[in-house]
Symmetry: C2
Subunit: 295 residues, 2 copies
């Protein structure tokens, strides 16, 4: 017998001074009412109610118990209501983690609109170029730009981005021309340490797929800083377009191997597998999908 049910039933019986009225009130059978109270008395090894078929009164222990239990049940109801409110409204704090550059370039511009839509939801965003352990560090939502490791996390695709090769005009002027992927092997390259295989660059043209093992002149876990290194003529860069675009637009970097279709990279939303996805996570999920998907 569920103990909390038993408490509720006991209180109802006391308040109605009747098993049958309590039963109708609680919409359960009279038999169950009787049994629940009995199970409670058994658990306490005490009789709480003096009863015959016509009347019911509280024993001294029952009186005390009822007196104590009523506020407890109220508090329990409050606690449940509080949780209920937390799950049905979009409030509280949403803890997210995402790569620094992706956050800076693609997410941050959207935040004002998001905050406008959900003013009661606080955001706690960690920008970090590492694979945070969502469970261990208590993140509700993570944003990954990489191939996902097998994991118990749920992943939803957010968008696809194209990897591009580029270098500074000055660098290109001073070094041998790059006409095929294989030419890259002779160049100092700027590699991204969080890639599964930082020094293996993949380029595609039609059916052809070229996997090049490049020399890493500098390896960092931050794409933007890699791009800045490229601007300082340190070598050839291989990064997603959302990082390169500003440098290409400004002319600081020049694309190379443009006749090659560069590999696509996927962005993912990941969150701890759960049956009961909080509204706040759903809100962010929906918001980001409408803004960033199929671009």
């Amino acid at each position: 017998m569920d103990r909390l049910d038993a408490l509720r039933v006991f209180c109802a019986v006391v308040e109605h001074s009747s098993f049958s009225r309590a039963a109708t009130e609680l919409n359960i059978s009279v038999a169950k009412t009787s049994k629940l109270v009995q199970s409670l008395e058994q658990a306490l090894n005490t009789s709480l109610l003096r009863r015959n078929t016509r009347r019911i009164t509280l024993t001294e222990a029952g009186e005390r118990y009822y007196h104590d239990v009523v506020p407890l049940l109220e508090e329990m109801a409050n606690i449940d209501a509080r949780v209920e409110r937390m799950t049905t409204t979009i409030t509280g704090t949403l803890r997210m983690t995402m790569p620094l550059d992706f956050g800076r370039r693609l997410i941050m511009p959207l935040i004002p609109e998001f905050k406008l839509t959900y003013p009661d939801l606080e955001l706690d965003i960690e920008l970090s170029d590492r694979h945070a352990d969502l469970v261990a560090e208590g993140f509700d939502l993570g944003l990954r730009v990489a191939d996902l490791k097998d994991s118990s996390l749920i992943a939803k695709p957010l968008g696809t981005y194209r990897m591009k090769c580029a270098a500074s005009p000055e660098y290109l002027a001073r070094h041998p021309a790059i006409n095929t992927p294989e030419d890259l092997e002779a160049h100092p390259c700027l590699t991204y340490s969080l890639s599964a295989q930082p020094s293996n660059w993949t380029l595609i043209r039609g059916e052809a797929e070229a996997r090049v093992r490049v020399q890493s002149a500098l390896q960092l876990n931050n794409g933007d800083l890699l791009a800045q290194a490229a601007c300082q003529h340190l070598g050839v860069l291989y990064q997603p377009d959302f990082i390169l675009s500003t440098y290409l637009d400004s002319g600081a970097l020049t694309p190379i191997l443009t006749d090659w279709q560069d590999r696509m990279v996927h962005a993912w939303l990941v969150y701890p597998a759960r049956k009961y996805l909080p509204m706040k996570v759903q809100a962010m999920l929906g918001f980001l999908k409408t803004r960033l998907s199929d671009q």
Copy 2:
């Protein structure tokens, strides 16, 4: 699944950051631990714990819930402990009801010793010559000097008393002699209204049983006052010896029909049928039995 158990298990899991450690701690199987937490989450329609096979952290809702539930569980434990204490120690208040004269003559003299033995138990005794409804009026214990009605009450025999006939010497001097029970029919009699049949007196001699239907000159629901009426020569009295003895000893009344064995009357302890008899009731039951039984 028992909700309170689920709460306790949830808290243990939080405190140990582990299902398996919580399970060992609580001495239940790991499977049960997992299921209980899941049932709680289902009931709340919320996930309380982010978990993979290596780590566990609280969600925002879980954090709040844990924070709220811990004091609630403590309070619940306190409440249970309080009831436990009430049932295992002899404290509180014992509410009794008993006939006025029986109480005055037989019970009150014993009370000082009882109070000495159980100083923490308060007594609330109603002296009243009526059949109080123990259940309706919340008595823990009743004392009855009469034949019992069918009832759900538990009855324990406390002692037997002998009904005696008596009248004042002056009354006897002025009225016809009473040699047989049938002679009573010609006398004004003092009847006790709470008897099943106040005007039917039964007297026994050997195998013979005489049932006499007497004339009631005065009917009261208090034996002592009836005896005082007899002292004032109002008629013949038929009362238990514990009421008559002082009047007989002082000579205020004279026994009559002494060659007849008078009917026995039983005293009973009655209490609402209960599986879990409170210690305080047991204490009084035992005390009175050793003092009043088989006299």
